[in-house]
C-alpha cells in the first residue's frame, strides 16, 4: 500500500525487552503534512514507538518505512535516515559542552558536511525562528528549560528533516514555559511539517493535530481523527475514556 502521500508507515511492529513485550503489533500511517498526537499512560510504549521510527531502537517484528527508506531493513544506513528525521526529547538533550550555536552546527558539518559558514548561517536563521538568536553564544546550562527546548527544536530543524518526532517536549518544563515551546511547534505544523508528537497537552492536540493515537500496554488502542477522539467519547474504548477523564480533570 505504498501511496505517494505516506510519510511514515508502521506495519505490525512488535518489540520485546527480554520477555517483556513493549510494542504489540502496532500499525499506523502518517501522511505528508499530518500532525499526529500520541498519548497514553506511562509505560505504554510511546517513547519506544518513537525511537523505533528513527531506528534508535531495533524491532523484532514488523516493518517501518519513512519516505522511501525501510528503517527496519538491516542494510539501511541509519545515520543518513536519522539526519532527516528530527527528534526532540523530553529532557532537551542539548550538548552541555557546546554553546547554542555549536549545538546547531555540529551535525550539519559532521553529517551533512555543510561548510562551516553555511551551517552557521542556517543555524542563526533557525535560532531567529525560535526567537533564540540573542542566546547563540550561551551554554545550555545557562538557559531556562523552555529556551533549551526551543534550541533543541532548532537543532533538529537545521538538518532539514522530512519528519519531526517530539517525545513529551513540554513535560519537563515549568508551566509558564510550556506555551513558548508549543507556539514553536504550532508554527511548524502550520508550515506543513509532518510531525508525531507524544504529549499530554490536550489543548495542543485539539488545536493542531489531525489525528490522535492512544496507546496502552504496548498496543495502539485508538487511532482516529482528533474530533472523533475528543467529541465522540462514547465510541472510545474504556481505557481511553479513563485516561481522558484523568487528564482533562486537571
Amino acid at each position: 500500500m505504498k501511496n505517494g502521500d505516506d510519510m511514515i508507515e508502521i506495519k505490525n511492529v512488535s518489540k520485546w525487552y527480554g520477555d517483556f513485550k513493549v510494542l504489540d503489533d502496532c500499525s499506523a500511517v502518517v501522511s505528508k503534512g499530518e500532525v499526529v498526537v500520541v498519548c497514553g499512560p506511562s509505560g505504554s510504549g510511546k517513547s519506544t514507538l518513537m525511537k523505533t521510527v528513527n531506528g534508535l531502537e531495533p524491532v523484532q517484528q514488523g516493518e517501518i518505512r519513512v519516505a522511501d527508506t525501510v528503517v527496519t531493513d538491516r542494510k539501511t544506513r541509519l545515520t543518513a535516515l536519522r539526519s532527516r528525521v528530527g527528534m526532540v526529547f523530553q529532557h532537551f538533550e542539548l550538548f552541555p559542552h557546546l554553546n547554542v550555536l555549536d549545538n546547531l552546527v555540529l551535525a550539519q558539518t559532521k553529517v551533512l558536511k555543510r561548510p562551516l559558514a553555511e551551517a552557521r548561517e542556517r543555524a542563526m536563521l533557525l535560532l531567529r525562528r525560535v526567537d533564540m538568536e540573542a542566546f547563540s553564544e550561551k551554554f545550555p546550562g545557562n538557559l531556562s528549560g523552555g529556551q533549551q527546548q526551543r534550541v533543541a527544536v532548532a537543532r533538529s530543524l537545521a538538518m532539514d528533516p522530512m519528519v519531526m518526532l517530539f517525545d513529551e517536549p513540554t513535560s519537563a518544563l515549568d508551566p509558564e514555559m510550556v506555551g513558548e515551546v508549543l507556539e514553536v511547534m504550532m508554527q511548524l505544523a502550520r508550515e506543513g511539517m509532518t510531525m508525531i508528537v507524544v504529549t499530554h497537552e490536550m489543548g495542543f492536540a485539539r488545536k493542531v493535530s489531525n489525528r490522535v493515537i492512544f496507546m496502552d500496554r504496548g498496543r495502539i488502542v485508538e487511532d482516529c481523527p482528533k474530533d472523533d477522539f475528543f467529541e465522540r467519547r462514547d465510541e472510545r474504548s474504556e481505557r481511553a475514556r479513563d485516561f481522558l477523564d484523568k487528564i482533562l480533570q486537571h
Partner: protein, 246 residues
C-alpha cells in the same frame, strides 16, 4: 636519641665517588620522573582504547578488554613486575630472551618497569574512562544518534568531551599513583628516588636527612600536579553545570 643532624650532607661527595650526595638523589628523582611520565602517557592511550572498547556494542572486543582489565587489576604490581622481569624472558623464544638479557641492564630495567607500570595503571584507568563514558546520559547518546552522527562521531563530539570532565579527577589520582608506584623499580635494581634515598642513607649514615628530603620532594610534586589539574578542570568546566563546581 642523640642523632646529629647534618643538612650539608647533600653537598658532600658520596663514598662511591660518583659525585655529591645531592646529585645522586637528584638522579633518583630524574629516574622517577622518566619512569612515571612515559608510563603515564602510554597508560592513558591504552586506557582510552580499553575503556571505550568496553562501552561498544561489540561483544568480542568487550570481552577481551574486560579480561585484560581483570587480570592486570587483580595481581599486585610488584608481582607483575617480577613476572615481566624474571619470568617473561624465560618464556620468550630463546633468541629474544638472550637479546633482552644482553641489553644494557639499566635500559632493560627501565623498559621493564615502564611495561609493568603502564599495563597495571592502564587497567585501572580504563575503568575510570569507562565509568566516565557511562555517566553520560543515555539521552545524550540518543540525541547524537538521532542527528545522524555515526558511533565514532558521537564519541568524538558528544560523549568523550563530556566524559573527559568527569574523568579528570580520577585520572589525576591515577597519575599520582603512577608517580608513587614507580618506586617499585628499586626492587629490580633501578634506583629511582625512593631507592636512591634508601641507598644513600646507608652510605652516608645520615638517614633522616635523606628521608626528609625525599618526602618533601614527593609532596611538592604531588601538590604541583594537583594544582595543575585543578586548573585544567576549571578550563574544561561546562558553563551552567553544577557538577564540576566542587
Amino acid at each position: 636519641m642523640n642523632y646529629s643532624w647534618d643538612w650539608l650532607i647533600f653537598l658532600q661527595p658520596s663514598i662511591t665517588g660518583e659525585g655529591a650526595y645531592g646529585y645522586l638523589l637528584l638522579r633518583g628523582l630524574l629516574w622517577t620522573l622518566a619512569i612515571s611520565s612515559l608510563s603515564w602517557v602510554l597508560a592513558v592511550a591504552i586506557a582510552a582504547a580499553v575503556g571505550i572498547a568496553r562501552t561498544l556494542d561489540f561483544v568480542v572486543l568487550r570481552f577481551l578488554a574486560a579480561t585484560y582489565v581483570n587480570i592486570f587489576r587483580n595481581i599486585p604490581l610488584l608481582v607483575q613486575l617480577f613476572l615481566w622481569y624474571f619470568v617473561v624472558p624465560e618464556l620468550l623464544p630463546t633468541a629474544w630472551g638472550t637479546a633482552i638479557k644482553r641489553m644494557d641492564p639499566l635500559l632493560n630495567q627501565y623498559f621493564t618497569v615502564v611495561v609493568g607500570l603502564t599495563l597495571y595503571t592502564a587497567a585501572k584507568a580504563s575503568e575510570h574512562i569507562r565509568s566516565g563514558i557511562e555517566s553520560v546520559s543515555a539521552g545524550q547518546k540518543q540525541a547524537g544518534r538521532s542527528l545522524g552522527l555515526t558511533t565514532a562521531q558521537s564519541y568524538r563530539y558528544v560523549i568523550l568531551p563530556q566524559a573527559m570532565r568527569i574523568v579528570i579527577p580520577p585520572m589525576t589520582s591515577d597519575f599520582l599513583n603512577v608517580f608513587k608506584n614507580s618506586s617499585v623499580a628499586l626492587t629490580i635494581g633501578l634506583l629511582e628516588l625512593a631507592g636512591a634515598t634508601y641507598q644513600l642513607s646507608e652510605f652516608s649514615a645520615q638517614p633522616f636527612e635523606f628521608f626528609a628530603a625525599a618526602t618533601l620532594i614527593y609532596m611538592m610534586i604531588t601538590y604541583t600536579v594537583i594544582l595543575l589539574m585543578r586548573a585544567v578542570e576549571r578550563c574544561t568546566r561546562i558553563a551552567g553545570s553544577l557538577g564540576a563546581a566542587s
